[in-house]
Symmetry: C2
Subunit: 583 residues, 2 copies
């Protein structure tokens, strides 16, 4: 039919695969090993500043500006895709550049994000998923991986106290997607008519509640799902970052009085910035009273289910009251990115919310299954409390439960790690990490040039420790001769003068913070910082150091030494000119 | 603070990784190699039926019922997670079971889904992504992978004719998610007030149009995004499965007359079942006239951009008119699942649609960037045609463009394959695959026991070939003595009698089809089938054989031989009892 010459595909995949892997693996092992070597050096007094003999893992990627990196990778041909393939040798060169210019999350000084060094069994699982190359939409093509997902999700749900015959979960492609899916399930369960008619089937604006410190994915999802960002009501928090449940209740009642329709509340187990845990039992009471779906975003703090420390486990007390729980083993539990689960005590809600007829894909074994799908599509799901359990047989074609059709078998990565280390291995890792976070918090409190963000004596909420650099116990705006004058002079109106002044003063501290974070990179540390808390705008941004399950104490001790040293030098070199500071 | 003993984490990740990989790799290579060996046997007359000496790749996983597989994996301890870890040896045992009971997509006979054998450079990239373990939300932690994503997405966009300074794309976690993202971008661009106020900001129901053969993810997304499934208007198709553009226009006009608000049309490049390509230029005319966002779902057929055959490339003619294009290199292009891109000629729409302030994450380098984000958040995006290009500087913190926050660097997998084989390598693979599909279609047309679904002489729309098993040229309901009587007898009303009759007759053929598909598995072939087309319910379901870039002709020839042989035997063994058939 076509005039072109025909070339029979050759059959060299096994050979190609072996060749690529055997040359890549030594490089990859060296990459991990190199980062680990740094850990032992944190105990020595030797400077970690990079030199020719000793290259710090984090230096290469971050010492270059983006423009300069892009230009390097353009000029060496890395970024170009060409007419002719470069084969195995070309890939080998790519890998070299890739490793050279990538941030190495295995480096001990990578304390920047809620994920860090990937655990080896998880990495092995990535490779296997590549070879198995399957799709968890239907059981037929992914029998074992489907069973792995179901079993590992149920085992995890059980750890959260989500028991019962319909408990379990699905793996989702990230925390934002898990949170989004929970909102879809909530809406479709509480207002099944919206599946056909859309949000407008409900009279009155549908509202979602989350704490002011909750993750921004709730707002992003609300925008996507057609509620609009105005539908997300931020509930104020206490000084440790926990949702004020009395405020939640007040806001819900007020909204109802205005004819709006509260339907969803998100509580957080481990907020992004301060690591605080909301009070699930209290929030659940409000949710129950007002018939809200009760979701817990445990993307970060959910790892504490593995703790053997009863005090630490108490952070998750009564999380089992949740209708759905999102948790990301790719964060605290060291599983390679991405690995996230949405768990629930009743998976049938997921199916009713997400099922759609797609007969080309789902081949029902018998009419009964088809009828169940019909039922789930056409009928309004009500309260199922009284329905006998065996009314529902759980689906094995998992796309019936999810927003996605094709999905990667990410559950295998967590499964491999859990099998390799066992529940007790994870317990030790999580508990050691928290003890290290406490150790860091104690050190911060003892260091005269640092000031904790949480009130004195507070243990860290989760694995992150937040603090300001305050040389000699003072915030650095003390360096400004007349900070007030500068600020007020630039404000546009008398009313906003005070806040503007706070913000401008805070901005100075923020710049100091950001300069210190940058200067720490050549010393082998990447730490993040967060913007000023509400009401503390004059203090500006602060450091957030995230301890992980591979962190050792010497690294944390070394970090504080380096930070104070770098900070002192940053402040000493600020060009102050008649009360105006230039950076 | 806690009484528990503290155990310093040990530092053996490099060693653990090396151990796990070195024992896994021979197994994985053998898994791929074993599948490839089958290919050479397709030319021989030897039976492929599994015996002890010769185990067919697809047999193990599918010879067991789900219950039996689950029970095997329970009893050998595979599925349990224990208190104590099983270490490297435990993982080795897991891998053995995993490979034994998994469908091997590298098997030549795996012709079931739109993805198949994964290309080795893509597998190597999976492993590297595991080690790099990063997250493409911000540039700071993923400098090279961010640049790879941007460059490969732009190179791909350019192949689709999406040029210009703002063209490019993002990698998304699958085709459904890409389609969903396109709908969010469309709505937020055309009705920016919905970002704050939700769908109800628009008076009149928002409507989406897609062909009756379009992917169900459009309907799934419409449900999730708060439009409801009633907002998706299926446009009828012609006999080859292409959208009838005149019907689209009529339906749009009719909807507007009813006060509804059409805003989005999805055209398909390669439908799931028949592989048909819509007429982009004609659909674009309607979209432009009625101010609809014009999306092309090229998840499957998008691979044809690599074709060197001008006739084949014509299937994608004027795809460059699209506002957004979804395409999945994990389908036709052999990249491991998942790898999907949403491409566009103006990426600024993605940012305006998806950006949210999340200052803890995005640290703007300067006030200007922050202002741009403010602007994108607060201002209504209008037509930007007249704005100077340099008004917008493209973001490198990619989470600003996506619905997800954390994302895996899936673009690397496609990048490695493209670099390894080059554009010309991909051209040869895609063209050979299409020639093989044509070869199969020709063979089907020549085989007296098979009947093509598409009208005689039609070349396949894409890489799949659809046909019925019709022994001796007849549909198998001919086997029923009085098919009409049976059907009418069971219909509930006179009005529906004819359709019921067609459906019941079709059901008979469908059962034959499904039985043949099952019986082919032990012969080393997995092929899928699709439900009866509208208006052809009496013919029932039909086979859909998906050729892939690794398929060789002998496999296809062998498949048809086996299918006819199996089919003849299935039909001969149907227990017919006074005009009633039992399976």
């Amino acid at each position: 039919m076509h005039a072109q010459a025909y070339f029979e595909p050759t059959c060299e995949r096994a050979t190609q695969l072996e060749g690529l892997l055997s040359s890549a693996i030594p490089e990859l092992v060296r990459f991990v090993n190199h980062a680990e070597q740094e850990r032992s050096q944190h105990g020595s007094s030797r400077s970690l500043i990079s030199d020719n003999d000793h290259q710090i893992s984090l230096v290469n990627p971050l010492s270059k500006s983006r423009e300069s990196l892009e230009s390097t990778l353009r000029s060496n041909g890395f970024l170009a895709v060409d007419e002719e393939g470069s084969g195995a040798q070309g890939i080998q060169r790519l890998i070299e550049s890739l490793l050279k210019f990538s941030v190495n999350p295995s480096a001990p000084g990578f304390l920047d994000k809620l994920y860090a060094a990937p655990l080896p069994p998880g990495i092995a699982a990535e490779l296997i998923l590549g070879v198995l190359n399957t799709n968890l939409h239907v059981y037929q093509v992914s029998p074992v991986l489907t069973l792995v997902e179901k079993h590992v999700a149920r085992a995890l749900a059980n750890m959260f106290g989500l028991n019962g015959p319909r408990s379990g979960g699905i793996s989702v492609q990230g925390g934002s997607a898990s949170n989004m899916t929970s909102i879809v399930v909530a809406r479709n369960t509480l207002f099944p008519e919206t599946k056909v008619e859309g949000n407008s089937a409900v009279k009155g604006q549908l509202l979602l509640f989350t704490s002011a410190h909750g993750h921004y994915s709730i707002e992003k999802a609300a925008q996507a799902l057609g509620f609009g960002s105005s539908s997300v009501i931020p509930v104020p928090v206490d000084t440790s970052g926990r949702m004020l449940v009395s405020e939640l209740e007040r806001l819900v009642i007020e909204a109802k009085r205005q004819g709006k329709v509260p339907f969803y509340v998100n509580a957080t187990a481990g907020t992004t910035v301060l690591g605080s845990f909301d009070r699930f039992e209290d929030i659940h009471k409000v949710a129950k009273e007002h018939k809200l779906w009760f979701h817990v975003d445990a993307a970060w703090g959910g790892g504490f289910v593995f703790s053997a420390d009863s005090e630490l486990r108490r952070t998750l007390q009564r999380v089992d009251l949740a209708d759905s729980v999102a948790t990301n083993p790719h964060k605290m539990l060291g599983v390679p990115v991405t690995c996230s689960f949405l768990l629930a005590k009743d998976l049938q809600t997921f199916q009713k919310a997400n099922t759609l007829k797609a007969e080309y894909l789902f081949h029902d074994d018998n009419d009964e299954t088809a009828q169940r799908r019909d039922l789930a599509n056409d009928n309004a799901p009500g309260s199922d409390d009284e329905a006998p359990e065996d009314d529902w047989s759980e689906p094995y074609d998992l796309a019936d439960l999810t927003l996605q059709c094709g999905r990667r078998g990410d559950a295998l990565k967590f499964f491999f790690c859990w099998k390799y280390y066992g529940t007790s291995g994870y317990s030790s890792m999580v508990d050691a990490a928290y003890q290290n976070a406490c150790h860091l918090a104690t050190l911060v409190a003892k260091t005269s040039d640092l000031t904790p963000v949480l009130s004195e004596g507070s243990a860290p909420g989760c694995l992150q420790v937040c603090f300001y650099f305050t040389p000699g116990g003072k915030f650095t705006y003390g360096l400004l001769e007349e900070p007030g004058r500068i600020a007020v002079r630039t404000s546009r109106s008398e009313q906003t003068a005070e806040r503007t002044q706070m913000v401008r003063i805070g901005k100075f501290n923020s710049q100091v913070t950001s300069s210190i974070a940058k200067a720490l990179v050549p010393r082998g540390f990447m730490i993040d910082f967060a913007p000023a808390l509400e009401g503390q705008e004059d203090q500006g941004s602060f450091f957030r150091v995230v301890v992980n399950i591979s962190t050792v104490r010497k690294t944390l001790e070394r970090l504080l030494q380096e930070l104070v040293s770098v900070g002192t030098s940053v402040v000493a070199n600020i060009p102050v000119d008649a009360g105006r500071v230039r950076f």
